[in-house]
Amino acid sequence: MTAQQVVERIQQKLQELKINWRAQTVDTFKAGSPQTEVRAIATTGMATFDVLHRAAAAGRNFVITHEPTFYNHMDQTADLEADPIYQAKQRFIKDHNLVIFRFHDHAHALQPDPLVAGSARMLGWTQYASPNEPRIYVLPTTTLRALAVDVAAKLKGRAIRVAGDPDMKVTRVALGPGYGVPALTTSIDVAVGGETAESGGNAEYILDAAADGQKKGMILLGHMMSEDWGMREVAEWLGPLVPEVTVEWIPAGEPFTMAT
């Protein structure tokens, strides 16, 4: 089957789930011809150059990525045409006959959001999901420090950052995907997500709450340590829709090196 036909299967399934395909969306082909015959599919958090190398080596010529391929949300390439890194990536895509499609907006529209469910599964929190509050997890009481240590160990994240009093007690955690770190409120202890505006939001709220005698915290996992796992959920969801080909998750992984 062609890459275009794979996308049509996705669109058909979404229609069954009463999720309309959006007129304005970043979920489009980013490189390669949609008419390419698909040998195997790789899903990933981000189509980094390294992911493309691994996909090509594994014979997976259709890459379905959650985040952009060309370093900006709209995957606009006009300003990159003269850049040697961009040129090398495009050349590799062409030489290996790869096709890249982005699955972002409609992935987040699935219920539950696989990008959140994937992180929750990695963290071992699935059983703690609040029955009637989306993205809220009610954990056995712990401290912010112990929670952050546990999160870093489970994800093997190398660049996890925390704000708030390490000794604060934590039970109610709001888990958001990628740049969607939940805004803290009085009813949440800790917000967890990928990346966010590092000031002008939760950072000040945590300091202000402390000055007002309330303890609040935030754990920033990094964007890939937040959303890469969800594309494994997407691979499992997509597999039965396209029994003609195999679907496998290729993690983009932690981009940050351990700072020694």
Partner: protein, 293 residues
């Protein structure tokens, strides 16, 4: 000491009450209002004031007489209390005060933490004025220049490439060590690239880093030292340079720490245009800590 020519009134005050200090004499002149301070900054910044801007009054009455000015990266309740203790009622901030870019409290309008912050502002009649876009539009870039000074790199700027610094040859890990020892970092430092890579030039990009900035600067520099680069823009670009066998480094120190030297420089600059007003910067603390180091 006042650097302004002595007015007739000050002279009279000074001769009739010789024991009054210069500072007290100054205090007896009608102080500038917050509006007058803002106008003076706007007319001196050297950048046309933008019709659409997030800079401007965020809370407080612009007609308030200014007792002193505090510059800060972020305005949390403790910053406000510290300013009150130092009799600084006009706060110049880089970042929003009410938890969103446009400072609209939105869903938090009845939130206890928002109300506690608002109560401190109202009780002490504080005025908060945001001054980020225009300060950061000055050329040469004030934030990069101030960050370079904190890193002890003043004078190492490349003549033909703004914000690019030639550093004594080191490795990426060596550069991280220097940065850690010279900036008030806690957990906020992250890096992309191989620790052993050779480093001879660094592009300073405090605050946020656009993709165009990342792509353009890494054609000239070995490393970008950034504040808060987006993880679907500059970060994967830096990562991909390694797959393209043109490996470049990126160090992210966090937006707050990256802007600390800049607000200190901003206080010095405001003092230069308003020599009769007390202006101090409030030191920045890295709000983040790490379990990885």
């Amino acid at each position: 000491m006042s650097r302004r020519p002595t007015s007739r009134r000050e002279f009279l005050v000074g001769t009739t009450a010789a024991l009054i200090s210069g500072r007290m004499a100054r205090a007896q002149r009608p102080p500038l209002t917050a509006q007058q301070v803002a106008d003076r900054i706007r007319s001196s910044v050297g950048v046309p004031w933008r019709p659409q801007s997030l800079d401007g009054f965020k809370v407080g009455d612009p007609s308030t007489p200014v007792t002193g000015i505090a510059t800060t990266v972020m305005v949390d309740i403790n910053t406000l209390k510290r300013a009150v203790a130092d009799r600084q009622n006009f706060i110049v901030t880089q970042e929003p005060i009410f938890y969103s870019n446009n400072d609209d409290p939105g869903n938090r309008a009845k939130d206890a933490v928002y109300l506690a912050k608002k109560a401190v502002i109202d009780e002490h009649r504080l005025v908060v004025w945001r001054f980020a876009e225009h300060w950061n539009a000055r050329q040469p870039n004030e934030a990069a220049k101030a960050l370079a000074a904190s890193l002890k790199w003043t004078g190492a700027e490349a003549p033909d490439a703004p914000q690019l610094y030639r550093v004594p040859e080191t490795t990426l890990a060596g550069l991280v060590g220097q940065v850690r020892s010279r900036l008030p970092l806690r957990g906020g430092l992250r890096m992309v690239g191989q620790p052993g890579m050779r480093v001879r030039s660094v592009y300073l990009s405090p605050g946020t880093t656009s993709l165009a900035n990342a792509v353009g600067s890494l054609q000239k520099a070995d490393v970008i030292l950034a504040g808060e680069p987006r993880e679907w823009e500059a970060i994967p670009y830096a990562l991909d340079t390694w797959s393209a066998e043109r490996g470049k480094g990126l160090i992210a120190i966090g937006r707050v720490v990256s802007e600390g030297p800049s607000v200190h420089a901003c206080a010095t600059w405001i003092r230069s245009i308003l020599p009769d007003v007390r202006v101090e910067s409030i030191p920045t603390t890295d709000p983040y800590w790490s379990v990885n180091v």
